[in-house]
């Protein structure tokens, strides 16, 4: 095969790799200002995003499509390391969108920030790993792709090197990450021992013919624990809050908006096949043996989902600091997303995917906004946000929209995604209805802590006049920032997020339709 036919489908990945190397090269030759290095990251992720959207079949961009039409959603051959599914491409778009927003907002960071090339280079490298996760069809390839992301994010969390808090966060994330990696790979090795292959499609097709029950059960068990660490599921979540709190806030936006979804999508890839065996009635690998794997996995994942939602929400209620509150709320959101795979039907997967898509705009942008407000000298406590809404109404309303969407208020994207997700769980009947009930109760619970922030922002007066007057936009450099601006990059990223929250909330059909069709294909190919 010639280079063109091979490189074509991988153009977005190659673009990101080239971008990473180019940024590190710029560092070597002495181009280190935030604006210049960041512009490369924004351009590379933006361009890759256009390619991926074109591949998804968006007609006006069809001339950019890189994957031959027949290769998307083709049935797995049982040997390939990668497969292009339209759901995978949607996840690629979500990951690229998260990186695009974060790097756009980070253009407004101090332009003499010494770590700028490291920050943007690692950001693009981590995104490369996420794109590979989205096209993986082999267990070991998937885990190695997750590691490309993880190794880059450990360094990203501690990249300032002079801040003991962020370095400590990096250390904690590294230890927990290495532990979870070890467990996942051990699980993969047991599955290889049981099935004689690591290809996910092949494992799905072995059916009743193969598998050593003990090895399979242990293997999936280790994989659940290992991946649960990555996806910050309770009870494997304790590291996440410290890391989200200690990391530079723009990095936190990337962790919450992007890299954590890698774990959730890995759940989709690994566990859909064994769950589908049961749901479609084609017989589980152990139909003739002692155990039915599907129900065990579904119950385990369902319990994890309910635990994650509830514990995350209750702990979020108790927080006094903004970043920690948002971090716990992010953990509880992971619980909602997990409902999708626990139910395992196409509509449920679509709901979870939409929830993940929404989460980029809600939580990712919320962290970006908090980073901007912190640069004004506002403290870390929720009470420090007193009067933000009345003094700086534009910022206040933007933040309020993100929080309302997180709570699932109608006419926002967060309502649409929760509606689709919970109604899919109800449609699935059986004990899945209880997942929907738990989800609804938790949404009601979460309203309390989001409303508290709204009350503080709009109905309480600041103790002292501390919000600097000035335009929202203005001054892309940091030296001008304390005047009260966000900088053009950060303002643009937040504006994009707010527009998306409202636009998709009012008219969800184009996005929802694409995701539902992709989920249908995903389930059809997986079975």
């Amino acid at each position: 095969m010639d280079l063109g036919s091979f490189a074509g489908p991988f153009l977005p990945e190659i673009l990101l790799l080239a971008g990473t190397l180019f940024i590190f090269l710029l560092d070597v030759v002495g181009v280190r200002s935030t604006e210049r290095v960041g512009a490369v990251a924004v351009a590379v992720t933006g361009l890759a995003l256009l390619f991926v959207i074109a591949d998804l079949g968006f007609a006006p961009l069809a001339f950019l499509a890189t994957i031959p039409a027949g290769q998307i959603d083709a049935a797995g051959t049982g040997s390939a390391l990668y497969a292009f599914t339209s759901l995978g491409l949607i996840f690629q778009a979500v990951f690229l969108l998260a990186t695009f927003l974060v790097s756009l907002a980070s253009l407004s960071r101090p332009s003499q920030d010494r770590g700028a090339p490291i920050f943007f280079g690692l950001l693009v490298l981590a995104t490369l790993g996420m794109l590979l996760v989205a096209i993986a069809s082999d267990l070991v390839f998937l885990l190695l792709a997750i590691e490309v992301t993880s190794l880059a994010t450990y360094l990203l969390v501690g990249y300032t090197r002079k801040d003991p808090r962020s370095l400590e966060a990096a250390m904690k994330m590294y230890v927990i990450g290495a532990l979870s990696t070890t467990l996942s790979f051990f699980g993969a090795s047991l599955l290889y021992g049981a099935y004689g292959t690591t290809n996910l499609a092949a494992i799905a097709h072995v059916g009743g013919a193969g598998g050593v029950p003990v090895l399979v059960l242990l293997g999936y068990g280790f994989l659940i624990v290992g991946l649960a660490f990555k996806a910050t599921l309770v009870p494997f979540h304790a590291w996440a809050v410290d890391v989200y709190d200690g990391a530079p806030t723009d990095v936190t936006a990337f962790l919450a908006g992007g890299s954590k979804k890698v774990g959730i999508f890995a759940f989709f890839l690994v566990f859909l096949a064994p769950i589908l065996f049961v749901r479609t009635g084609t017989g589980s690998p152990f139909a003739n043996g002692a155990i039915a794997l599907g129900p065990i996995l579904q119950i385990t994942l369902g319990v994890l989902a309910v635990l994650t939602m509830t514990v995350g929400n209750i702990l979020a209620l108790l927080q006094k600091e903004m970043k920690r509150m948002l971090a716990y709320s992010s953990i509880s959101q992971a619980g909602y997303m997990l409902i999708g795979i626990a139910v395992g039907t196409a509509p449920a997967l679509a709901g979870a995917t939409l929830q993940i898509f929404a989460h980029v705009f809600m939580k990712g942008a919320a962290f970006l906004l908090v980073a901007g407000v912190t640069a004004w000298g506002i403290g870390p406590l929720i009470d420090d946000y007193r009067g933000l809404g009345t003094r700086r109404p534009v910022v206040g309303v933007a933040f309020a929209l993100m929080l309302l969407s997180l709570a699932g208020v109608p006419l926002t994207i967060g309502f649409v995604s929760k509606f689709v997700l919970f109604s899919a769980a109800v449609q699935a009947q059986g004990y899945f209805v209880w997942l929907a009930v738990a989800g609804l109760l938790n949404s009601a619970l979460s309203v309390f802590y989001y409303a508290r922030v709204l009350r503080v922002m709009f109905f309480e007066e600041p103790a002292a006049e501390k919000f600097p007057a000035g335009a929202i936009v203005g001054g892309s450099g940091p030296s001008e920032l304390p005047a009260g601006g966000f900088g053009y990059g950060r303002a643009a990223a937040i504006a994009i997020a707010v527009i998306a929250i409202v636009a998709v909330g009012i008219y969800p059909q184009p996005v929802l339709g694409a995701i539902q069709a992709a989920a249908q294909h995903f389930v059809a190919v997986g079975a």
Partner: protein, 105 residues
Amino acid sequence: MTDLPLVGFIGLSAALLAIGLFGILTRRNFILLLIAIEIAMNATILNFVYFAAYTGGTAGLTGQSIAVVLVGFAATEVAVGLAIVLALNRLKGTINVAQATELKL
């Protein structure tokens, strides 16, 4: 190759994994922690090697190549860990994990 005493080998790697996990959970010295992580990782690599031998044929080749890739991966992981240790040591003059207490749990 099916006459290998597979259970014994799995027992060996399970023991290695247990030693590694115990080390990760109890060690307070970051370097020793890295060693514990390596021990646990080696359990996985060994698993792939003898499952490959057990499977045999081309399917066995998959396991052998994965084992080689994982050796490389483990080295990469430790390199990143050492980078964090170096930065930590420069900043705080200690590599004791327990003394990193800026963030409350």
